[in-house]
Amino acid sequence: MNPLQVELPGLKLKNPIMPASGCFGFGREYSEFYDLNKLGAIMMKAATGEARFGNQTPRVAETASGMLNAIGLQNPGVEKIMEREVPFLATYNTPIIANIAGSTLEEYEYVAETFNQTDQVSALELNISCPNVKEGGIQFGTDPAMAARVTERVKKASNLPVYVKLSPNVTDIMAMAKAVEAAGADGLSMINTLTGMQIHLPSKRPLLANKTGGLSGPAIKPVAIRMIYEVRQQVSLPIIGMGGITTAEDVLEFLLAGANAVAIGTANFQNPFVCPEIIEDLPAVLKRYGFASIDEVVGKGVLA
């Protein structure tokens, strides 16, 4: 048996490593660096009902051990993604997770329904937490009742398992997790970015054209670990963990905290090979800390 394999609702993963949504486009660019078959799964960039151009530039800034981004959900719209991107990724033997976003409940439903038309997508990741969308997107992610409503509606609209991606910008992450669990979520994905800002001294103005952006990278790892650990105490849904992972040791830390698999975002920009390298390092790191398989690790830090 493959010691790295992980089974989650709708997802049979050969390993627990997948690139995080928005940090890997639709896979084409990184497919020039390595064989995407190596990955546990691939989380596509967010899909919305119509094409979006996103925010003005500059859209990224560097921070201490992190970065801010305010891409603003730029994407060609769910139909073009179905037409042009999914078929490319489907040539790989790696499950595809579609990240879906919207400004209204109807848009979320529409995007979810559109993904029913293919059997090449294995699961949905419900992005209720993108801090860069202005029209109300943010409320879905910070109010438990709203989060539950969008989860319910998407669950009804979709044939696929739904992983709800939680925002860390909340007072009570447990309330959010419980609300979407009760609303029928099949899993959680956490965490999205923390809302941050940088001021550009020469211009005296916020550096990002959108003013605020989402903070990601190693800087936020302690917040991610805390939230996953907290949620794992009382919620039994599988968790795809993310936030600042750069090494196989980090992966182990997330799994011990309660994640069942992990996603890697910002680290791809520093090292395009980070995902396959972590996959390669994992067996030795598991062994060093006394584990024979991923299954053995999950939640050990919480339950032991």
């Binding site: 928005g22 660019e29 094409a51 151009f53 859209r59 990224v60 970065m67 190693p218 791809n268």
Partner: protein
């Protein structure tokens, strides 16, 4: 494009806050097209830094970059010692289109937009073009590569404060220079806007700068609006060089 290691062979301060760094890497020295860049990893920094290739020498298997200390990343880069190694993604981006029919070419560079034009100029000379250059700098202390460009052809230096060469902006010189057929320009966006407006009827290529995340086309950090179906182009992958009509500055 690949992920590569380059060895620092030489680092020289060639003007105020401006460094020329010679890097050894046979792959880049043999494959880089003028206008492409290296997406450099600098220790302790989350994001890579895009720096243009200023020239290559396949014989010594080296590639030269020229950068200005602009913030913590480039400051750190200026501290790399000979024989240390640098990790880069590259050669990245598309590079300049060299297949033009025109005979006389104008190069218009501003500040740290000057370096890629040097690589380009050397290639255009190989294609037997006549080259005229207008290079703009803040002030006298910041001027670099004047002699190098003079070897390519007639070269005008402009400084904002008039402390060297002509006084003003590169665009002030556009009416002064000999007739030319097409132009290549690299520099800050306001300069490129002015240039492409003044030269709207010429055949022109511009090289753009934008803050980058991935540098490979995956993150959508570096888009610029365009009239294409998608409505945008990515500077890191579709650029940094565009035909001036291809993008909306």
């Amino acid at each position: 494009m690949r992920k590569i290691e380059l060895v620092v062979k030489q680092l020289t301060e060639i003007a105020k806050e401006t460094y020329e760094m010679v890097l050894e890497n046979s792959f880049v020295s043999m494959t880089a097209i003028a206008g492409q860049f290296l997406h450099l990893q600098i220790e302790g920094h989350i994001l890579r830094r895009p720096i243009s290739i200023a020239s290559v020498d396949p014989k010594s298997q080296t590639v030269t970059i020229i950068f200005k200390v602009n913030g913590p990343g480039t400051k750190h880069l200026a501290g790399y010692q000979p024989n240390s190694t640098l990790n880069a993604l590259g050669p990245a981006g598309n590079g300049f289109n060299l297949e033009i029919d025109d005979k006389t070419v104008l190069l218009i560079g501003g500040g740290i937009g000057v370096p890629p034009l040097y690589h380009l100029g050397k290639k255009l000379i190989e294609k037997e073009k006549n080259i005229i250059s207008i290079l703009g700098f803040q002030s006298k202390d910041y001027v670099f590569y004047e002699k190098e460009f003079q070897q390519l052809g007639k070269t005008y230096i402009v400084t904002n404060d008039g402390s060297y060469g002509e006084s003003g902006f590169v665009t002030d010189m556009l009416g002064e220079v000999e007739d030319f057929d097409s132009y290549y320009s690299c520099g800050p966006i306001p300069m490129l806007q002015a240039v492409s407006q003044k030269l709207v009827h010429k055949n022109g290529f511009i090289s753009l700068e934008e803050r980058m995340g991935c540098g490979v086309g995956a993150c959508f950090a570096c888009v610029i609006p365009s009239d294409t179906e998608a409505g945008y182009r990515k500077i890191c992958k579709d650029g940094p060089v565009f035909h001036h009509q291809e993008v909306s500055l």
